[in-house]
């Protein structure tokens, strides 16, 4: 036994060493673009363009100051004109936050209710309806881009927050319904039936018994929608002008005074990915809390 133990030990050390090395390589590979993005945000124009690339330099906060204090110029997406914007980046961050948070709240709220009734009450034609909901995602979004552009101009939804929010809710509701339904489907029916017998009305069962058990799924759904909506570019480009423009479109249009100022763009992008990174980090810890299923002796 002791002999065996002695022989196996170096092997195990070697194995875990290999795993560590592989992990480090993977992390470096995937994190390097983000590192370079953040690094560039702290570089002057000359430093950003230097060959060989600079790994050690004196960081500058100029770009971050410029984002907010300097008026930005932008190439108008449709007409191609170069125009000077009336505000700094704060307006665009504000727009992105308004649109993203509203869309997530509405889509998650409606999606959760729809998913619960599909899962529990199985109304007539549930399967057909669920497929219909999914089928709205089968067409590439760009196919409907032109009709929606004209439609939005015609009915006055163009360049409005609620217009963009409506569109995002519509596009993301299928994900919300399908994801939440699969989580509701996992809750044993007996638990909810027990609550009904214990004196709870169906509404109370929904928010006192069902919702607490799908918090993990709710977190996952919110995380998923955040990534979708915060990063959406195509429709934001088509349907917004200066007053409602979101960050992804703003970044694409940002230019410096003389050519492209990569430091400036990197700075905006750094601030842009920050909320997403924080949210994912928070939700990841939430997801790790694990599933609560298993209090039941087995389904009937």
């Amino acid at each position: 036994m002791g002999n065996n133990y002695g022989r196996r030990r170096p092997k195990r050390v070697l194995k875990s060493l290999a795993v560590y090395v592989a992990t480090i390589i993977a992390v470096v590979f995937f994190m390097f673009p983000i590192f370079w993005l953040i690094a560039t945000a702290f570089k002057t124009r000359a430093q950003a363009f230097s060959t060989p690339p600079l790994f050690v330099w004196e960081p500058t906060f100029r770009n971050f100051i410029d984002i907010f204090l300097k008026r930005q110029t932008e190439i108008e997406a449709i007409t191609g004109q170069e125009i000077e914007l009336a505000t700094g980046a704060e307006q665009f961050f504000y727009n992105s936050f308004i649109v993203t948070i509203s869309s997530i709240v509405i889509a998650t709220f409606i999606g959760t209710l729809a998913a619960y009734s599909f899962s529990r009450y199985r109304p007539l034609g549930t399967n057909t309806l669920m497929f219909f909901i999914l089928s709205t995602r089968m067409l590439p979004a760009i196919v409907v881009a032109i009709p929606i552009y004209f439609f939005y101009r015609a009915v006055g939804l163009y360049n409005t927050y609620h217009g963009l929010i409506m569109l995002y809710v519509m596009f993301n509701l299928p994900f919300a319904v399908w994801m939440m339904k699969s989580f509701f489907d996992e809750i044993p029916r007996d638990i909810e039936q027990a609550a009904l017998v214990d004196g709870s009305t169906p509404w109370r069962v929904f928010y006192k018994i069902a919702i607490p058990q799908v918090l993990v799924g709710l977190g996952a759904t919110v995380g998923f929608l955040t990534i979708n909506i915060w990063n959406e570019f195509l429709f934001a480009l088509l349907l917004t002008e200066r007053s409602t423009r979101t960050i992804p479109v703003m970044i694409a249009g940002t230019r410096g005074e003389v050519g492209i100022n990569w430091g400036l763009i990197a700075a905006i992008e750094t601030l842009y990915v920050l909320p997403a990174l924080v949210l994912i980090f928070v939700l990841q810890r939430y997801l790790l809390r694990g599933m609560t299923f298993g209090t039941v002796r087995g389904a009937r």
């Binding site: 027990a194 009904l196 017998v197 214990d198 709870s200 209090t295």
Partner: protein, 363 residues
């Protein structure tokens, strides 16, 4: 304190017909057991009474009032789920307190009642546990039982409530159920696949099979006069002995023939339905009614002892009687060992006669 009546209840789940027309009357304050194998429909009956499943056909009445359209949260019944169905996001205390809170019972009364029921079920030490998923099977069952018993409902519906407890606790719980019924005059409907449990607790037992009530009677009647072969074989331990053979009618006397065995059944006039000479039948007799070395001369057979199991108070003998093996129970420790030859007597009064084809009893 409620009389429960079920009239012609049918229920299907997709293509599966769970209940095929169940009718049952449970007197107010009585203890009734639903006895049947897994999948017989016991759980569905209880869920229909509780209102969480809606019958496709038929009516459910509480004290003569149809409650089909009364939603479960207004029926005021307590249901113990076979799956426990604990609320996984609540502490043990909150699980037990939940039905009281939903009924707006005062804070102090909730506390008092939860503590009381927890004490009776020996789970006081578990009340502070945050995550019921980490409890053992027996602990979960007791918490779920506490959540059911903490209430004061019109009817208690218990679906295999003590299957996962150890023997001693099971005995205590049986006494507890009887106490609830006797002292609180509560109506209890109790589902179990275990006939000993059903017989020891209930005044009347409904034997259920494939979504139908086969027989609804007192335990002693079920034991003495089973309606068919299913009831006869489902109750009793060890299982009733069954032999298949033919009827031989000599003048006015009926005999049962099976290989070398010939048993006298009695005068043909004893049986109301005419039994033809040569009819194929099965006879059943309980292991307890087999007499070893009988004094009488009636229906005596030679048998060889195949095995002998001492159970503490009695001994179960497995005997070879030629065409098949049968079981016999003798009190105390028997002195027989493998290969011993014994004489056994099968009393005429204890014989049950079944139609071989349909399994119905012939009287």
């Amino acid at each position: 304190m409620t009389r429960v009546e079920i009239r012609g209840v049918k229920k299907s789940f997709n293509s599966l017909q769970a209940l095929r027309g169940i009718s049952l009357e449970v007197e107010s304050g009585s203890f009734t057991a639903l006895l049947g194998p897994t999948g017989a429909g016991k759980t569905t009956v209880l869920k229909c009474i509780a209102g969480v499943e809606r019958p496709d056909e038929g009516e459910i009445l509480f004290d003569g009032e149809v409650v089909n359209d009364v939603p479960p949260w207004r029926r005021n019944v307590a249901l113990f789920f076979q799956t426990y169905a604990l609320y996984p996001h609540m502490s043990v205390y909150d699980n037990i307190a939940y039905p009281l809170r939903e009924r707006k019972v005062g804070r102090e009364e909730i506390e008092a009642r939860v503590r009381q029921v927890a004490e009776r079920l020996r789970i006081t030490h578990l009340l502070d546990r945050k995550d019921p998923a980490t409890l053992s099977g027996g602990e979960m069952q007791r918490v779920a039982l506490a959540r059911t018993l903490v209430r004061n409902p019109r009817v208690f519906l218990l679906d295999e409530p003590i299957s996962n407890l150890d023997a001693k606790l099971r005995e205590e719980m049986r006494l507890e159920f009887k106490r609830i019924q006797r002292e609180l005059k509560q109506t209890i409907i109790y589902a179990t696949p275990d006939f000993v449990e059903a017989f020891s607790l209930a005044q009347k037992v409904a034997v259920i099979r494939d979504g139908e009530i086969v027989q609804y009677d007192t335990p002693s009647n079920l034991m003495r006069n089973p309606k068919n072969k299913f009831v006869a074989t489902f109750i009793g331990s060890p299982t009733i002995n069954m032999l298949r053979g033919r009827i031989r009618r000599l003048e006015n006397k009926l005999f049962f023939l099976c290989g070398e065995i010939r048993l006298f059944l009695g005068d043909a006039g004893l049986y109301s339905s005419g039994i033809e000479d040569g009819a194929e039948v099965e006879i059943g007799f309980r292991p307890q009614s087999v007499a070893i070395e009988p004094s009488g001369e009636d229906n005596v057979l030679r048998a060889r002892v195949m095995s002998s199991e001492f159970m503490g108070h009695e001994t179960i003998l497995t005997l070879d009687i030629g065409p098949s093996e049968i079981r016999a129970v003798v009190m105390g420790a028997a002195r027989y060992s493998y290969g011993d030859e014994v004489r056994i007597g099968i009393g005429r009064g204890s014989l049950l006669l079944f139609d071989a084809e349909r399994g119905e009893v012939i009287r």
